[in-house]
Amino acid sequence: MPTPAAPAAPRSNRIGLTVIDYRGGKTTLCAGCGHNAISERIVEAYFDLGIAPERVAKFSGIGCSSKSPAYFLSRSHSFNALHGRMPSVATGALLANRGLLAIGVSGDGDTASIGIGQFVHLMRRNLPMVYVIENNGVYGLTKGQFSATADVGSRLKTGVVNELPPIDTCALAIQLGASYVGRSFSGDKKQLSAMLKAAIVHRGTAMLDVVSPCVTFNDHEGSTKSYAYMKDHDAPLQELSFVPAFEDITVDYDPGSTIDVTLHDGSHLRLRKLEDGYDPSDKSRSVARLMDAQARGEVLTGVLYVDPKAPTLIDSLDVTEAPLASLPEAVTRPPREALEEIMASLR
């Protein structure tokens, strides 16, 4: 299937910035940590899309993963919030300024353990943002205890074995209302890149669960979130490619073998099917497929569900286009007559 050939890496992107303008501070994570690879993909994605970093707002909770917004897009505002509470903070910020392009980075502990409540409700609201879970099955920053995404039977270096069933954040997200849900692997540059770019231009919650091995605490034999395990168990559903709206390329594709998703801004996400019959627009079937995969120990990756048209929280609130944060007093403070009218009604 023809995927559009990647253009030779340009020195500067369509808004005249170089990749350096998208970089962050020096990482303080362990060398080899999956999270660092994801940060690199994020830098590339915004650079390639030619999005002004000033329009982006970064959010995170607490954890090694949640530190990573410091390591990309230094020219974007960032809010490293509380453990498990990134969703509410991001929601508030987007209420205040609907023009922000939001990306949140969380960990599996941050999201699936302490943060599962806010996660559930963010998905339900289909808040327009990219929500990345850097999933290593453990709490890296507190030295490697199991999180709620650890698989049954996964073993820590200390010998402790996890007995509780994992929470599949993708199956949950689809069920709850997120409109773009994918799973990837920090080691799969190509898949993750395309998935991220589509997520960034998607309007609605784009929830990406990215398996991201913790080299210090969960990359050994017996772990189900190790590089080695992923190499053996990664079962991609599709081969992904992304065609940005601004690239005037029309490439033919075979609708029998490839699904073309037109995203909100006119970009295209092309999914060349590797598993026949998987339909990422079918909510209930995709959840069932994920549950079966979990039971069988497969790690399905790819775009699991997408609905480019689902209404977002911002839509349903029917808020004015201009950021609420910058509305002038003349707009936000009703006139004298309004108060007089109200006072009269209370007499």
């Binding site: 000033e54 917004p69 505002h77 509380l82 509470r85 509410s88 508030g92 205040a96 936000t332 006072m343």
Partner: protein, 617 residues
């Protein structure tokens, strides 16, 4: 010491009504208590009665004492008419309307001799005491002619007692009818039925022999005034302060604040494009509600949430983040009785101490204490200004009494001062300055400058975090960097002392005895002070504290008085504790705690009695 507009109605000598008073009559100075089961529809009747008296120009206040239940449990509604304009709860009930079989006997037992009792005849109460004035009324029979619908009749019995009281107390039936028409605006059928019920009661009562001394007489002390509850007032305050993001989770007694705000927003905040100039989100819980408010405040919205004690406890972690990462947000705590779920429908000032230090680590917050519905309005506005000026969460500590009860007030003044949006650097500022350091104290007031996300300038961004950071907002674990930052935060709160609402002094400041109180205690304390002076010749100055951290005037007041009674509505004397920690330690021995804990709105008599007792009089 600044004395702002007197917000509590001032005593008004009711000259003309006094002139008509006959010996033995008690005119425009008594309280009515209506006892009904919750959810029985008596709320409308009580409002009608309150309004009818108000429309006759007589100062009134109403207190609803309701259970944490939707229907069936006992409720009491108290109306006080006071020619002198006192609006606190009156401790004694003068006229009881006993409609609730479950509590009737207890209610009657609690009356002082000479009180009048209108009661549902089948309750057969008159045999229980000989020292009361009894008015049995067969309400079922009275409303029988009004409608054939038995369900409706049950509701209309409540309007019938209004008619009975109107006759007994000389409330003008025309005013009752006007109040009914207003209460059931645009519901012609209901208007008509209720008027009929009131009239039926009024007619029936013609046969009752008036034997109590209580009368309402027209006077002119309510002209131009409004009746409103504090939650609605706070909602209006937020509306006119240009609130843009409202996040909440329902909890009594704060829900109606947001619900009222929503209805005003829908009416007054639709932009030229037909779209909302605000966003309201009902969050999944209080952690999310405050998280959203913090997120919105960070991004530049005027953001608020409203809750009660349990919600404030859940907000602890975020409160600390707001303090330390320096993010504006306004949090209304409409206090109810704790600890824990406590008495969710009773009033209290029990969250003051824990909220002042809400969150672990060295954390401290700005608290405002509105003392009237008018201040619920003005302080809501001030809270947003302070939050943005000081880049920190500001807690508006109201309570159930203030928030959910009906209060008479002067109309609210339109805010003349422009919004203070605090220190925010625009793109143009950055062009000029070349850059900025988020947490540098360039102005010496402890407050740095911030930028808003989305500001289109390559140097606008900074990194917000709850972990240690230097002046440039860069992660730091350095001891000296941490220490300096914490000291700046302390300095910021020092600066706030002179920016928060100043206390209000009542009295010449020359008495030996002082009283300090705040919030909804104000009407009772003002009246108690009057009682002390009139009845016992005890002169006391009174300082109404309006904010924490305390301004210098608060210290000065304690310095100027030998003994200072701190009156409040909690067990542990929480504001007194804050004072104790803030005053020069030499002054601490002057403080005396007058703490009330029963969940009932404070009454003057309890306060004056307690102060007299402590004064050894």
């Amino acid at each position: 010491m600044s004395v702002p507009q007197p917000t509590a109605p001032q005593p008004t000598v009711a000259k003309d009504s006094a002139r008509r008073t006959e010996p033995g009559q008690v005119v425009n100075d008594f309280s009515i208590q209506v006892a009904t089961p919750n959810g029985s529809g008596s709320q409308s009747s009580n409002t009608v009665l309150l309004r009818a008296i108000f429309q006759m120009g007589v100062p009134v206040s109403g207190k609803n004492l309701f259970p944490s239940n939707i229907a069936g449990l006992p409720t009491w509604y108290t109306i006080r008419a006071s020619k002198d304009g006192w609006i606190a709860r009156k401790k004694d009930v003068d006229v009881l309307v006993a409609m609730n079989a479950e509590t009737a006997r207890e209610d009657v037992a609690a009356l002082r001799p000479g009180a009048a009792v209108v009661y549902d005849a089948p309750l057969g109460l008159s045999s229980t005491r000989a020292d009361l004035v009894w008015y049995p009324v067969p309400f079922d029979r009275v409303v029988e002619p009004v409608t054939g619908d038995a369900k409706l009749r049950k509701l209309l019995k409540n309007m019938a007692y209004v008619g009975v009281l109107a006759r007994l107390l000389d409330v003008e039936l025309a005013e009752v009818e006007r109040a009914i028409v207003r209460q059931f605006a645009r519901k012609a059928k209901a208007q008509q039925l209720n008027v009929a019920a009131a009239r039926a009661g009024f007619e029936h009562a013609a046969a009752l022999e008036k034997r109590d001394p209580f009368f309402v007489r027209r006077m002119d002390a309510t002209r131009g005034k409004i009746i409103v509850d504090g939650n609605a007032a706070a909602a209006l305050g937020a509306l006119f302060a240009g609130v843009t993001v409202v996040t909440w989770y329902p909890i009594t007694p704060s829900s109606s604040l947001v619900e009222t705000l929503i209805s005003y927003l829908k009416q007054y905040r639709i932009g030229a494009d037909g779209k909302a100039t605000y966003a309201v989100v009902q969050a999944e819980d209080e952690l999310a509600a405050v998280g959203m408010a913090i997120g919105a405040g960070w991004a530049g919205a005027r953001a608020m949430t409203a809750t009660a004690g349990p919600g404030v406890s859940l907000m602890s972690e975020f409160a600390g983040l707001g303090y330390y990462a320096e993010i504006p947000a306004v949090i209304f705590d409409v206090q109810r009785v704790g600890p824990s779920t406590g008495l969710p429908t009773r009033t209290s000032q029990g969250d003051v101490l824990s909220t002042a230090f809400l969150s672990h680590g060295d954390t401290q917050h700005i608290l405002l204490f509105p003392g009237s519905v008018a201040e619920c309005f003005t302080m809501a506005g001030e809270a947003f200004d302070l939050a943005e000026r000081f880049q920190t969460p500001v807690f508006v500590m109201t309570d159930l009494d203030l928030g959910m009860n009906n209060w008479m007030s002067d109309p609210f003044p339109y805010p003349e001062r422009p919004l203070d949006r605090g220190k925010v650097l625009s793109r143009e500022d950055l062009d000029r300055l070349g850059g900025f350091a988020r947490y540098r104290d360039v102005d010496g007031d402890g407050i740095g400058w911030r930028t808003l996300p989305g500001t289109d300038h390559p140097r606008a961004a900074y990194f917000t975090r709850g972990t240690g950071h230097d002046e440039e907002a860069v992660y730091s674990e350095k001891a000296d960097v941490f220490e300096r930052n914490m000291e700046r935060l302390a300095r910021k709160l020092e600066t706030a002392r002179s920016s928060v609402p100043a206390p209000e002094l009542h009295g010449g400041g020359r008495a030996r005895v002082g009283i300090v109180a705040y919030g909804s205690s104000h009407p009772a304390v003002a009246e108690a002070r009057d009682q002390l002076r009139r009845e016992r010749d005890l002169d006391a100055d009174y300082l109404r504290v309006r904010a924490y951290p305390f301004s210098r005037e608060v210290h000065a007041f304690v310095e100027q008085h030998e003994r200072v009674y701190v009156v409040e509505q909690n067990r542990d004397g929480q504001l007194a504790a804050l004072l104790q920690l803030d005053l020069a330690p030499e002054l601490a021995p002057r403080l005396r705690k007058v703490a009330h804990l029963d969940g009932l709105p404070l009454d003057a008599r309890s306060v004056s009695d307690e102060i007299l007792g402590m004064e050894g009089r």
